[in-house]
């Protein structure tokens, strides 16, 4: 089974990387971008076929313990 975990910064957390990208876009002459915030995405292949509940529990544990810093980041799990 395939899944995607998307990790994004919580609202209010500063994102210097996003700010740098905003600046770089301006330097390149690409105007019209008001703000950029960067996050991470993990495409995960899970062994075994079709137990969605087990897969979701596994991904939640992986996200809580490794993929996301839940103090400053939110995550979303999608099974595909």
């Amino acid at each position: 089974m395939k899944a995607r975990v998307t990790v994004t910064l919580k609202t209010g957390i500063l994102d210097p990387q996003g700010k740098a990208i905003e600046g770089a876009l301006r330097s390149l002459g690409i105007a019209g971008v008001a703000s950029v915030r960067q996050g991470k995405v993990f495409d995960i292949e899970i062994e075994g076929a079709s137990d969605r509940a087990r897969a979701e529990a596994l991904l939640k544990e992986a996200a809580d313990r490794l993929l996301a810093n839940t103090v400053i980041e939110n995550y979303r799990i999608e099974l595909i």
Copy 2:
């Protein structure tokens, strides 16, 4: 207008970061993950209200020139 650009490695391109995450998950005792591939996500706010075609052109230019390395990465643009 809000948009999300998701950048992922092309098939066949090695992903050492993903491999490291696989190993870390195993070390944590989280079993059942066959593979992990990491990508990036950019949440972008575009100035001006509602010209979807203009926004898409802008995002395509940003992705081609800055956000993605199109030699090794694919990107997908979603307007929200």
